[in-house]
């Protein structure tokens, strides 16, 4: 009975795993086919021969500079994650550890914006970015998203969970707030900071709606709007389109495998606040 149940469980688990993974595997397989082979019916599961056609189209492409988009995305997501870490950790320290006028109201205001769908702010944010002269620059995909309240909320909760006694020794040694923050609290918060960094990187790397409207020049694009262009240019030339999709997936899949624990913890903790 129990063996039967166990095999049934594993059977179900494997079936589900196939449903989740097959599309991703198919993306990879198609990216190493020739144009002709990708058009075959029925489709082939093992490409014969393995072809670098899709990737060659992408790498030598001046109309759709995919490598450039890749570098832009890498730079934007990295800078964005650093900006979020720096600004959110300092703000969270003030909100968790310092007393000042307006703290309650300020915190309520910040958390309140968590409930406003960011899509509803896109139009005014576009006009603001335009006034600042940021349209079609790297800045416009790095900075505005860092206003999200999530990082501040997330780190504040984490700081509050750290016992204040740990900082008392530093206080007795005459440390100021900056030293307590940077020398005591931040080192104790490495797991939370790593989680926030990874989540911020992912969000920025994957962002689609904002960059397709605020970036215009082909050489300024990040990968997601670039992939949209690629789809328009290659229509049913699927090896090329899938090669582009693979290129956009590899960094985040590597990051996911390496930082799985952080990502899953970050997501589950964001749920527990509810």
């Amino acid at each position: 009975m129990t063996t039967l149940r166990r095999s049934a469980r594993y059977g179900l688990l494997v079936l589900l795993a196939l449903i989740f993974l097959t599309p991703l595997v198919w993306m990879l397989i198609t990216s190493v086919k020739t144009y002709g082979e990708a058009q075959k019916i029925p489709p082939t599961f093992v490409p014969k021969p393995f072809s670098t056609y899709g990737y060659e189209q992408i790498l030598g492409n001046t109309a759709n500079p995919v490598l450039r988009w890749f570098l832009n995305s890498m730079l934007a997501a990295t800078l964005h994650a650093l900006l979020v870490l720096a600004t959110a950790s300092m703000a969270a320290y003030a909100l968790a550890r310092l007393r000042f006028r307006g703290r309650g109201v300020g915190f309520a205001l910040i958390v309140g914006t968590l409930f406003i769908p960011p899509t509803s702010l896109i139009i005014p944010n576009f006009v603001i970015a335009d006034r600042l002269g940021w349209l079609d620059t790297l800045t416009v995909v790095v900075v505005p998203g860092a206003a999200s309240a999530f990082g501040v909320f997330f780190l504040r909760q984490f700081f509050l969970s750290i016992p204040a006694e740990l900082e008392e020794a530093a206080v007795l040694d005459g440390a100021n707030h900056w030293q307590i923050f940077s020398k005591v609290l931040l080192p104790l918060s490495k797991p939370a900071l790593a989680t926030l960094a990874v989540l911020s990187f992912l969000t920025n790397w994957n962002d689609f709606l904002w960059p397709i409207y605020v970036l215009f020049s082909p050489e300024r694009l990040t990968l997601p709007p670039g992939l949209g262009l690629l789809q328009g240019a290659y229509v049913t030339d699927y090896p090329v389109i899938m090669a582009g999709a693979v290129l956009a997936s590899v960094p985040v899949l590597i990051l996911f495998v390496a930082a799985q624990r952080h990502i899953i913890q970050g997501v589950s903790r964001s749920g527990l606040k509810g």
Binding site: L21, A94, A175, I263, L272
Partner: protein, 320 residues
């Protein structure tokens, strides 16, 4: 915003920038400006791109604000009235997008609440390979909508797509127009979204399940409860706050759907799968009518707020 700039400018006794060492130690402790200095960098971002756009959005919505024209006259509530006036030029497009968003939300939310719960229950016991399967189910979620969109546009291609080929191989119709006709386009959009985001909700449920005390299950088992009764009487009540969170965030996420229909069905057939968010950005940023688009954003945000509040209300009453 002026306040923040002043705080930023008055940085005489500011804490040194990251990486630097404190210069004056004790004397800085307790300075009144300290908390504001810690807050200043984030506050500048928050005020400019978090708070200002809310107020500015309201301002835009009561003006005829063409991005290309210098003259932007005040028009009162005209932009709002147009959305509810069947004579106006925008009426048809607007309500068509509302309908599309409603269809998508109504069909995707129940699936995204129930299926991930099933996944979480399956993963909640400890067994070899558990972490692996959890990672596999979560994996699609780390990919962006651009990748998902391109990938499924291909998989659902009526002729060359894997979905129709696999269906054909098991003797089912192999010519379904998944991305070009309704109701298939809806099945596709909902199905892809379930595939893409179920792992995310499952992880949230899992955290909630782990907070339910094993003793409650033990006690229930002692009372002779079967598996279904334990689920009804222990799991569901224990998960109530998490269920509320999942339901609310999923409704918000589904109502904000954009990339899937932009890339997979590309609005087809006609403009039937064009969603509210798509309509808003098109109106504002392609057709340059930022005023009307801002009015749409505000109506949309208010509608979502009302739905969230009803959610909270409903769940709180049920608890009594």
């Amino acid at each position: 915003m002026a306040d923040v700039i002043e705080v930023g400018a008055a940085r005489k006794d500011a804490p040194p920038p990251a990486g630097g060492k404190g210069r004056r130690g004790v004397t800085e402790r307790g300075s009144r400006a300290t908390p504001y200095l810690f807050l200043a960098p984030y506050l500048l971002l928050f005020l400019t791109f978090g708070l200002l756009p809310i107020l500015f959005g309201v301002w835009l919505s009561v003006h005829q604000w063409d991005l290309q024209l210098p003259n932007r006259p005040f028009v009162g509530l005209d932009n709002y009235k147009d959305l509810f006036d069947s004579e106006s030029a925008i009426y048809g497009d607007w309500w068509s997008s509302v309908k599309a968003t409603a269809i998508f939300t109504v069909f995707s939310v129940p699936l995204l609440v129930v299926i991930p719960l099933g996944l979480a229950l399956l993963l909640n016991k400890s067994f070899p390979g558990r972490t692996f399967f959890r990672a596999v189910y979560f994996a699609p979620y780390v990919l962006g909508v651009a990748v998902i969109g391109l990938l499924w546009r291909f998989l659902l291609d009526a002729n060359l797509g894997l979905v129709n080929r696999l269906l054909g191989a098991v003797g089912l119709p192999a010519d379904t127009p998944w991305v070009t006709d309704v109701p298939w386009a809806w099945v596709s959009l909902v199905g892809v979204t379930v595939w893409w985001t179920s792992g995310f909700n499952a992880v949230i449920y899992l955290a909630g399940l782990q907070d339910i005390s094993p003793e409650l299950y033990e006690a229930s088992r002692m009372d002779g409860a079967n598996a279904w009764q334990r689920f009804r009487n222990v799991t569901v009540p224990g998960l109530r706050p998490v269920l509320l969170f999942v339901l609310t965030t999923t409704i918000l996420a589904s109502a904000n759907v954009f990339g899937q229909s932009f890339l997979i069905t590309q609005g087809a057939p006609g403009e039937e799968t064009r969603t509210v968010v798509w309509r808003i950005v098109d109106e504002g940023l392609r057709d340059n009518d930022a005023g009307r688009a801002a009015a749409m954003s505000i109506v949309f945000a208010l509608a979502l707020t009302v739905i969230s509040l009803i959610n909270f209300r409903f769940f709180r009453y049920r608890e009594d």
